[in-house]
Symmetry: C2
Subunit: 230 residues, 2 copies
């Protein structure tokens, strides 16, 4: 007879939870009892329970045992890869084009967002990331030169500020946002869209030790999807 | 003299990492050495290191000690609350309106996505979630009645399928996606937008024990942002 794998056990526990053999909030049989029932090692049962706990379906407490979650809190996790890595991982050829690079005074909205003094120097970079020669992402980035002065000596002609910052400006705190917008005229031109087309916008701002590093707006064509599984 | 808090220690370690006092990949001093340097308890240093590790800035290994991360892998985590909870948490009044409820044959795209037989019964629900009387989310949902037959007896007149499913149909696996689109005519009417306006679209599909439970498309007005911090 084939022994129950942790996957078999996980499926059966899922089935019982979905059929309410055990109600939400109810304490489930212990690891030992389940191991005996399934004719499996405790480690095998433990692995199944671990996966169910990670997916939020059950709650494990050292003292009170395992319960079916009453109000499972769900979380979607999105990896934040380099855009080059993201494109190459999908099997496409990556290409990078620098559109603009200039040292400017931080605009007022950036001063306010990052707590910078008036006239603070910021590096403004606009560039395009292509997948198989099709525009994939238009990047509009500001780098706080007071926090990352070395960025001022980079020309970003052949490698993107994304790559340079990942290698040179570690961050400890970041804000991410996703949204939709109508493409502005410059974004539309870069992405080869009609102005006003719906675009997917990801934004990111990073800090280290209370100092702002960079703010970036990443604009994608309307067919772009950010997908994750739990 | 004020003792260094775990926040002070964390800030100072962040500063050293950003200034490359310790290079990426380099092993950092141990917990004990840091505790001695900062005149703090080991537990305090441990808490600072834990937070830095969680943010991806350092890597802690039991045997080889703590290193500055070489290629920090970043992850953005988005909580998936009930839409009612999300609206109420922002201080707005929540309102729910059912627009459609019908048992239909699963359309071909849903059959294919969920591996359902032709003619499989599915509950099709369209509804609107409002915040302070303004449309917040248009929900277009399909529920697989073979997996969740009890949903067929719910009228969803006063509580949304979102609430009912969270309480009655636990899932073990889910796919999430975010994207942008132009509002279709029905979406535009429900959300009080011009047709073709850019909307933010979140999609979710859930399974338990290999059986598909539900697919939902959630459409938001263009000012909607999904935001998270790490």
């Amino acid at each position: 007879m084939r022994r129950n794998s942790f996957r078999d056990i996980k499926s059966e526990l899922e089935r019982r939870i979905s059929r309410r053999v055990w109600e939400p909030g109810e304490t489930m049989p212990g690891e030992e009892a389940l191991a005996a029932e399934f004719g499996a090692a405790r480690a095998t049962v433990n692995r199944a329970l671990q996966e169910l706990a990670r997916s939020g379906l059950i709650e494990r407490k050292r003292k009170s045992g395992t319960r079916v979650a009453l109000h499972p809190v769900r979380e979607a996790r999105f990896a934040i890869p380099l855009v080059r890595t993201e494109i190459e991982a999908s099997g496409s050829a990556y290409e990078y084009r620098l559109l603009k690079r200039a040292v400017e005074h931080a605009p007022v909205w950036l001063q306010e967002r990052f707590g910078l003094p008036a006239g603070a120097p910021a590096l403004h970079v606009r560039c395009l990331h292509l997948a198989d020669e099709r525009p994939y992402q238009y990047e509009d980035r500001w780098i706080n030169l007071a926090a990352v002065p070395a960025a001022g000596s980079e020309d970003f002609e052949t490698a993107s500020p994304n790559e340079w910052l990942v290698a040179n400006a570690p961050f400890s705190r970041a804000q991410f946002s996703f949204g939709a917008a109508r493409a502005g005229s410059e974004e539309a031109r870069a992405l080869d869209l009609d102005p006003g087309e719906a675009v997917f916008v990801a934004e990111r701002a990073t800090w280290i030790a209370e100092r702002a590093i960079t703010y970036v707006r990443m604009v994608h064509p309307p067919d772009h999807r950010v997908v994750t599984w739990i």
